[in-house]
């Protein structure tokens, strides 16, 4: 039972609360001899961290990761990699205003039922702050995958009613929304301003892709690549839906349209999103996720306190109007952690990972 562990062969266990002394992770099962560039890990963390720009929360966290074990002279040793990030921005603030309140849309109420007590200091373990460790671990996985020719990338393709009309991956690096459509940046900026003014928030859609994935990754019948990816992505805070390939659109498709026909030159289409029967086909693996709007907003709402009394709540803290933005590097990390695990599983069973050939020898 591994509530705080992800993966079977590349196992990432995270710990730490938003208001405790530190966050940490242990990676068990990383192959030895992998070149690790610490600057790359930090760069991925910096993409996720708050206070990066005016569209996200102004909380400043250094998010400086320290490697405590498992890497020697720039290479993994095969022993567990211990990672720690100290929490530096823990203001000794007064929690008395929310101490007894269950914040709607948050995990306060469900954690209280689960554990029988209340950590009133904030999100605690349920805070998205935990995802910093996923990004750090994912950055290690990505270095391994890149050395195998696998590339992962993600973008926010919709925020509220503003949807991207094109998928320009270069543009994703040019704006603070990780948005793949330069023509919509002004609309996004306007929407954020409007939300801040209204004290409200909005949801988002993210697309994540992996190219160069060899055919043959994934296990029948439960640990399918798409099933594990669905779990990985749904485990990101605020995610309410996951789709692979054409997703919900398949409901209205005909078989003659959906099945991806094959020719000696390759597949004619990719409605499947790179996964057939739970196993990668060699095509690009594509997934989309929906993130709900931030629950902590200024607009007053009804709630109860832990004694069952009716109360109202209004949050004036430092919160993103759209949590979806910062989830882009997290989605990449979870795709990476899913793929490296299945890559190693395939190698364990076959001694090699099958190559992306169009036909069997």
């Amino acid at each position: 039972m591994s509530a705080n562990t992800f993966g079977e062969l590349f196992r990432v266990t995270t710990f730490g609360e938003s208001h405790g002394p530190a966050l940490g992770a242990v990676i068990d099962g990383c192959p030895p001899g992998i070149d690790i560039d610490e600057a790359y890990i930090q760069a991925q963390l910096d993409r996720r961290k708050p206070g990066n720009n005016r569209y996200t929360t102004p909380r400043r966290e250094a998010d400086q990761v320290k490697i405590l074990s498992g890497v020697f002279e720039g290479k993994t040793t095969g022993t567990p990699i211990g990672l720690v990030i100290e929490n530096t921005d823990q203001r000794s603030r007064d929690y008395s205003d929310i101490k007894d309140l269950f914040r709607p849309g948050h995990a306060d109420y469900t954690y209280a039922h689960k554990y029988g007590h209340r950590d009133y200091r904030g999100g605690g373990r349920s805070s998205a702050r935990e995802t910093a460790m996923r990004v750090a671990a994912g950055a290690i996985a990505q270095q391994f995958l890149q050395q195998q020719g696998i590339q992962i990338r993600a973008a926010m393709t919709q925020m509220g009613g503003v949807a991207a009309s094109q998928l320009d991956w270069q543009e994703v690096h040019n704006n603070p929304f990780f948005f793949p459509d330069a023509s919509k940046i002004d609309d996004l900026d306007a929407l954020i301003r409007e939300l801040k003014k209204a004290g409200d928030s909005v949801g988002a859609k993210i697309r994540v892709e992996a190219s160069g994935v060899p055919a043959g990754l994934g296990e029948p019948v439960f640990d399918r690549l798409d099933a594990d990816l669905a779990k990985a992505l749904m485990s990101i805070n605020a995610v309410k839906a996951v789709s692979i390939g054409d997703g919900f659109a398949v409901v209205e498709q005909r078989g003659s349209e959906h099945r991806d026909e094959m020719t000696p030159e390759g597949f004619c289409s990719n409605h499947a999103g790179g996964v057939l029967g739970g196993i990668s086909s060699g095509q690009t693996v594509t997934a989309e996720i929906a993130l709900k709007p931030t629950s902590s907003i200024k607009l007053e709402g009804k709630t109860i306190d832990q004694f069952g009394n009716a109360q109202t709540i209004s949050t004036h803290g430092r919160h993103d109007p759209c949590v979806g933005i910062r989830a882009v590097p997290i989605a990449e990390a979870m795709m990476a952690l899913t793929l490296i695990d299945h890559w190693l599983r395939q190698r364990a069973q076959n001694g090699h990972v099958t190559t992306n050939v169009p036909h069997l020898k």
Copy 2:
């Protein structure tokens, strides 16, 4: 590494291929002393089995389950429950026409890459026939859950362009489509006729719900109830998308709309689908899945053989025009297997499962 096992505490391992002598499952971790009604298991299997009506494949399989261990005098003993269903309808047919072909939309190609060989007799392990064992195991889980006050139900809410306008759970038992809207049965019937004529197929949407779920089920941060449910449902053959609560609609929602406000009388809405921070809230857990259209159709399509040559394929076998119909009891089973596992995990950690009270004592 448990490719063919689902669950952590209530572990279901399945085995068997569509054309082998038998299918089977082992349930390890079922609590002792649970009353088991074998007729209930068989009834659930009968809902899934092919040949039930004219809308599904006319293949006839008795799907008669035998309990080999773990049940004594009508009660579980606490030891592993072994289940077997013999394959009785294995025609010794000639496979030579498809022996070398990769069927588009099927797992032929990906399994060949994964395992380095080809089982040309048909779907083999990737066949939906495997899900019979999930339904059998799920029926045992459901008997336990019902004794805890948890009720699970599912319905097909859309097939192709025909969507239910209402959610009439009584109606689900009255038609062969498990459809919750009596006014649309004729449309569904017409659509199936049209598809059969055209030699084509269509996708479907299924809704599955669990009521009576106590607050507190689910684990932070990876083994969230919604994440495990996403994996469970995505692992069903042909599923391409999973959503919880409002699903993809949250992208365009505002925080003031989505957050479910709370009053001493309970939650004011259920946009979250019964899960907050990955943990059940006591509200009804709701999920939807999208199933792709059947890949085996009469309409000719392009493909390759295993030597890489261009070929065409047209399937004349006994296949459902909409695989989504028979997935209704499978979705219920996977919901049940997910919930029983988290129910036991909660009991392991706390010694009890928290009750559905509106506030903490």
Copy 3:
């Protein structure tokens, strides 16, 4: 939580009770393409099965194993291998004499406490009959290991006071005791006669070895090869002690004696039993186990019934005077299951299994 599962990558799950309709096992994670000789599996089962000779219980069980899945045209497919043995010798006997009694030395009392009920038909799940499935699964593992150059063998080296003076592996095949010393067979025969006359039983010691094991198998720090082997062997019914290499003799050894010095020609000795720091050294892996005397004996003993009343018990059934004899093939099986699992783990992490070279390149 996998009470009835052994292994991480080569996972064996067993089910079935001694008095139920069948025993079974599922092997999940067996690599594809392995040649499987069913006659070899049956031959290993026949070595274990009761009624083989006059020294073991005269119960006759066909122990005919059926492969239900995972093997096609003589090769493993990579999908789970389902195995079943039907129980054919279930006499419909009268259990009323022992129905309420806890048999001393048996699991009756502890199972009753664990599960809160009593299966009065006999050992049930705690019966050594379950080990038939271990032998079947071990025989599949052994075929894989043999193809990798790894050879496993075991012998009973002591029964009661009769200890082998030499380790003649050829002799092991010549006598029904699996004993490696021809000069002691008459003593063993006499001891069995004496025990039968007295209505008593005696313990035994078994030695099991694996040669050709490549250096590098085993994981620090918990899943050491010797730790997993200790668990594997201790899990055999009646085993009370496990030792690796020199075992308890190391308590009185000096470091200068115990450390196995190394030369370019290899190790100078093998006090370590082929494992250093939990990882195989390339030397022969050696282990010994102690098996307690059969608990079911004719000699009357004190016990209680399930109501707490004082009772006496005397067993007149068909029982081995020394359960250790039949444990020889079981010990081989557990060694095989441990080694194949670590072999696959090493391959997963490194992409290859290091060879038995005397020094690193």
Copy 4:
């Protein structure tokens, strides 16, 4: 695959090398609401730490544990407990003399084969330093178990030829050898002096017991309490044998002697060591382990370097003449980690842990 994780429900994952910046552990699955006394954890660590007295290595390590998460206001929260101990005594020494040598009896050679590289700074991950984290985690488990009425204790009962003649548990606290026989302390002192003079080392035997264990803990058939305990104890550095109850003595016992007869007043003896059929009987659980003599000694020995050349080695560092002494608190910790895991598993399956009643209701 959890090489560096112990346990199924109370999962302890450790990381860190002897010469890296820190050691750490994550405990996942500790129930919420348990009172944690940090001073008790530190006290257990102090019993294990080197430099405690003149009989163990004079290396000084503060072994100051920091709790990074999972404990709030003196109670566990139910979220993962992160623990870190910084390595403070990492002398920047010159390793050139042993850089290329494989030290006989150490894991240098086997790790090199496993990982394909050499961490020449010393034991690294294979160092017994890692066991500090086991002691810290075990101290948390022990606080839980004590609150359930379970008491664990261990003693060194033999060092070389000096064996305890009595088991005086009070005396264990009075001498630096954790020895239960005051009359032998002078002999032990003399033996250590002799070994230091000779530049040699010696083995040891440790006994560990748990009383107050309820009947019913342990799972058939692989995850037996004794099997998991065997693994736990064999995973301690230098352990070469594990026995339960009478251990290897059972080989020469008769069934009439070994089986522990039962009366309404309880068991008449405890040859079984508190475990029947792999499940606790309510009697005291007893185990013994054998630890090999320290491999790093002054006496010159033959070895090879990593190029395969013949070399000699003589260790002049700070090493214990008997590593067994410091293993006493480690054995207690591993007993505690094994028991808490099975205690929680029993509670998961039954909703309660059966009480130590002499007969079933």
